[in-house]
């Protein structure tokens, strides 16, 4: 056997350097860890009792609801399901306004366009497609479908950037990508995860061109959209990261994981600053979102419940029951007056 002395020496040296750098990174982060978030919030007034109830139940999917997104008009919701259907609902009246049948089952991702005039979706077809929403209820939406993104494994999440013109996607193929909707061209790809990427969230527009992703490699990564570079990464979860969501100021993000915890990472301190967990919570968190001020963190869990956390104090302020199977997706409405959850029980619930 040829003794490839050069490459294996370099590999060993590189691995050592890798370990040294990782240790140094942790040391640098630790130096600035002078206090815990909940200590800073000790004197902050505690939150009172929350009474949030299901105000609407959206029934119509034939199988597990996998994803949902609100329209900017604060009343329409798009949802996608294992049954292959994508439905647009008027959440005030609970009427279904549009329905599209996808050529695949497990439509894991869906998103509303900022204009409200289109929806994007995809899943086991490995693609992200855009459907313009027609005002004519009789028109077959599938006829106008536009294929935008092509991955080499399932589409796990998608979201429009600040306009209808670009879409960000994440995939089971371990990558994220930015696409031009009109041409279907890939504008940028993001490599760095070591396994399936399960979720992503775009930074609030004031914060600039970054997004965060989370994956089966237990890592969350913050990316520069222009260069494709991973600028920060965090590896403190003990299992798959199912959901990531930016804190409203853009200076932090929360993640929900199969390790039954949600965590808060501050981007300027470059570290985890809070863990939201309880011994009694042993099932994974599938989906997280913040209330408008960032004080409340809503988490949908695989034990069918929704836990509401005080972001500053780290305590749970409420637990919501209602779904009859896993909560798989959860989003606050654009004006923060309500939130919607989707579940494996085939329904969506709007809570306020």
């Amino acid at each position: 056997m040829e003794m490839a002395a050069q490459p294996s020496d370099t590999l060993a040296t590189l691995k050592t350097e890798s370990e040294t750098l990782k240790t140094k990174l942790e040391e640098e982060r630790a130096k600035l860890h002078d206090v815990e978030l909940h200590q800073v919030a000790e004197k902050t007034e505690a939150l009172g009792q929350f009474i949030m109830k299901t105000r609407r139940t959206l029934k119509g999917h034939g199988n597990k609801v996998l994803c949902l997104d609100w329209c900017k008009d604060k009343r329409r919701i798009v949802s996608s399901s294992q049954d292959g259907k994508v439905i647009v609902w008027d959440a005030f009246t609970t009427n279904k306004e549009h329905a599209v049948t996808m050529p695949c089952t497990w439509v894991m991702a869906c998103a509303y366009a900022p204009s409200g005039c289109a929806v994007a979706c995809g899943g086991l077809d490995n693609k992200c497609s855009v459907y313009p929403l027609s005002l004519d209820k009789n028109e077959n939406l599938a006829a106008k479908k536009k294929s935008v993104a092509m991955h080499t494994n399932y589409l796990s999440a998608c979201c429009f950037t600040n306009s209808d013109m670009q879409i960000l996607t994440s995939s089971g193929d371990g990558t994220c990508a930015l696409w031009d909707v009109e041409s279907g061209q890939m504008l940028q790809s993001f490599h760095g995860h070591a396994a399936d990427v399960l979720c992503l969230d775009l930074a609030p527009s004031e914060t600039g061109n970054t997004f965060v992703s989370g994956g089966c490699d237990k890592k969350s990564c913050v990316w520069d959209m222009r260069t494709g570079q991973c600028v920060q990464s965090f590896e403190t979860h003990e299992s798959d990261i199912n959901s990531v969501r930016y804190y409203p100021s853009g200076d932090a993000f929360a993640s929900g994981s199969d390790d039954a915890t949600c965590r808060l990472y501050d981007l300027r301190a470059d570290r985890e600053v809070a863990i939201y967990s309880k011994e009694s919570i042993i099932f994974g968190a599938s989906s997280v979102d913040f209330s408008l001020s960032g004080r409340l963190l809503f988490g949908g869990y695989n034990d069918y419940t929704i836990n509401v956390w005080d972001v500053l104090k780290g305590t749970r302020v409420s637990i919501l029951f209602g779904h009859e199977n896993r909560v798989s997706t959860l989003r606050i409405s654009p004006d923060g007056t309500a939130f919607c959850s989707g579940s494996w029980d085939h329904t969506l619930r709007v809570w306020a």
Partner: protein
């Protein structure tokens, strides 16, 4: 041959990992105390605008009344 290819791609992966770690090590960080204070202040400053936090009268929340009035 295949040994060489496998080891050279491992080397490439390791080189990328080192490059990435060097980049991440360089970023400027602030104290958790400062970062946490900023997070807290943001929450407090925006609390009054957070309907789920402070609650809004039923008449202002479109989901509270059993059926909505016409909006448009």
């Amino acid at each position: 041959m295949s040994n060489n290819n496998a080891s050279s791609s491992s080397v490439a992966v390791a080189q990328r990992a080192v490059k990435q770690l060097r980049l991440e090590a360089k970023i400027r960080r602030i104290n958790v105390s400062q970062a946490a204070t900023d997070l807290k202040n943001f929450c407090l400053q925006n609390a009054h605008k957070d309907p789920l936090l402070v609650g809004v009268p039923s008449s202002d929340n479109p989901f509270r009344p059993p059926k909505s009035c016409g909006l448009l």
